[in-house]
């Protein structure tokens, strides 16, 4: 068994994240039941004469997890590529500053975007400053 602490922490994170998503789903159901305006606004686009289908009425539990995993993979790949570039440039003698921030928000912002009313997307900033002038930026 691989006892990589990072991987295990990732699994624990997913496990607890699923609980949070379940709680969010439950609060959404309750709001829909008591007819709160927040829940009503979320279903404004649906016709009131037809009930929500089962697909629409359930909040995605799996999708955020997979999004996060894919984002992690994306970050590692982007970072690897840019690191490659930075290494080449440095070998060529160009002074390069490389800054990579996978998650731009603070923890409260991440939680808000994932569990709260946010879009569910997190974003980061990476900056390569070549010769201390030009900026290659990835959002």
């Amino acid at each position: 068994m691989d006892s990589d602490p990072i991987s295990r922490a990732r699994c624990d994170l997913i496990y607890n994240f699923l609980h949070l998503l379940l709680l969010r789903e439950h609060s959404r159901r309750r709001l829909a039941r008591i007819g709160a305006p927040d829940a009503a606004s979320s279903r404004l686009h649906t016709d009131q004469a037809f009930p929500l289908t089962s697909i629409q009425s359930t909040v995605a539990l799996l999708q955020p997890v997979i999004d996060l995993l894919q984002y992690e993979l994306l970050c590692t790949r982007v970072k690897a590529e840019m690191n490659n570039i930075v290494q080449i440039l440095r070998r060529a003698g160009v002074p390069v500053k490389f800054h990579f921030d996978a998650v731009g928000e603070d923890s409260a912002g991440v939680l808000e975007s994932l569990i709260g009313t946010g879009t569910g997307h997190i974003s980061g900033v990476t900056t390569i400053r070549i010769d201390n002038r030009r900026v290659v930026q990835d959002l």
């Binding site: 068994m1 699994c11 379940l22 039941r33 009930p51 997979i66 995993l69």
Partner: protein, 398 residues
């Protein structure tokens, strides 16, 4: 003799007999006066005067007193038959003497008028009363006594045993009841939801029904486990969603008499959710990791630990059902679904497994097993793997 003097003649007190006899004497005197008035048979009436009769009576009375006591002695001293026999012969002698004297002194013209003029009692009357039981042997007596004592002893022992058993039963019942309420109070103090359980079908609910039934139900599920249908469309939604009634599953009952555990979970399945991520490096080595399941008791109280455990299980099952429902609408990833396993290919080299495993299986063994499966399947290449269903058969845990 008994017909004339009454059956209680021997039991009469001396005063009664004294009071009775003068009356009789007076009656006799009046009779004698009557006979005196009748000159036809008045000569022989002078032969026995009242004075002479009283003299005879005074002479006999002490002996008669002894005779009166003798039958009692006979009754009470059955075990001493020789003494009784002696007393009876003495009484017989005295009586015969008494009868002979009265027969001698009475005159035949008025035998019914004179109280002391009794005919001679038949001798076989007293002879029959002297018959006694044959004395039993001393050893048999002691044996009988021992039997009686032993029987009483055994009966007493059985009765005490009965009382002891009853005491134990009552005490146990009391203990169980006390433990029930203590558990209920503990659970209530930790703010778990206690609701009265629905009565069993057919139980009386009327006025005289037993309302003190112990029927606490602990519901530890989330509050919105199941939408309560209000309209037909909502019922339809529930059917479409196939809501498995997690609220109903998330109930436990305080155990009543006859079970060792203090809380009974009728619908518990004893599973645990295992989230594992398998990644493959660029070099081709697989890595697998699984979440560390916090199995250590969070609370000192085993009651709370059990409840937390059951709650965790229900939450995980609900999560899993939602995951499965989500898996059908995933746009970008391929998913394999088994009854208790959900494998999602998140990225090219990453695979997430959500698995409900039995509590009895240790996690490292699962992980190595899955890792072997993963490596076997990953050798087939990505295109093949995407369409290959790994035959997965989870051992039945329910």
């Amino acid at each position: 003799m008994f017909l004339e003097r009454g059956y209680d003649f021997f039991n009469q007190d001396e005063e009664q007999r004294q009071a009775h006899k003068p009356a009789d004497d007076q009656g006799a005197a009046s009779q004698s006066k009557d006979t005196v008035k009748q000159p036809s048979d008045g000569q022989t009436a002078e032969a026995t005067s009242p004075e002479a009769l009283s003299n005879i009576r005074l002479e006999i009375l002490p002996q008669l007193q002894y005779v009166r006591v003798a039958p009692r002695l006979l009754i009470h001293r059955l075990n001493l038959p020789s003494i009784a026999l002696g007393e009876m012969t003495l009484a017989k002698d005295v009586l015969s003497l008494f009868a002979a004297s009265t027969a001698h002194t009475s005159f035949p013209s008025a035998p019914h008028a004179d109280p002391s003029s009794v005919s001679v009692p038949p001798s076989d009357l007293l002879a029959s009363s002297s018959v006694s039981q044959p004395p039993s042997i001393a050893s048999v007596q002691s044996f009988n006594a021992r039997l009686v004592a032993g029987g009483k002893d055994e009966a007493l022992r059985k009765a005490s045993e009965l009382f002891k058993v009853a005491t134990i039963a009552v005490e146990r019942g009391h203990d169980v009841g006390a433990r029930y309420w203590i558990d209920a109070l503990k659970i209530r103090r930790r703010n778990w939801g206690l609701t009265p359980a629905p009565l069993a079908f057919g139980m009386p609910t009327g006025r005289g029904a037993d309302r003190t039934t112990k029927d606490f139900l602990i519901s530890f599920g989330l509050s919105e486990c199941m939408l309560f249908p209000r309209t037909h469309t909502q019922i339809l939604i529930q059917i479409l969603q196939a809501s498995p009634g997690f609220r109903q599953r998330a109930t436990g009952q305080l155990a009543t008499y006859g079970s060792k555990e203090s809380i009974v979970f009728p619908r518990r399945q004893r599973t645990i959710l295992c989230v594992s991520v398998m990644t493959m490096d660029a070099s081709g080595t697989q890595r697998a990791a699984c979440n560390t399941i916090a199995n250590e008791p969070r609370d000192d109280d085993p009651l709370q630990t059990t409840l937390h455990e059951a709650q965790r299980e229900v939450l995980e099952q609900e999560i899993f059902s939602l995951l499965i429902r989500n898996a059908s609408i995933l746009p970008t990833s391929s998913v394999r679904v088994a009854e208790r396993l959900l494998v999602v290919e998140a990225t090219q080299d990453t695979e997430i497994r959500f698995e409900l495993v039995s509590l009895h299986v240790t996690l490292p063994s699962i992980l190595t097993d899955r890792l072997a499966q993963y490596s076997r399947s990953s050798t087939m290449g990505l295109h093949l793997k995407r369409w290959t269903l790994i035959p997965f058969r989870e051992p039945d845990v329910i």
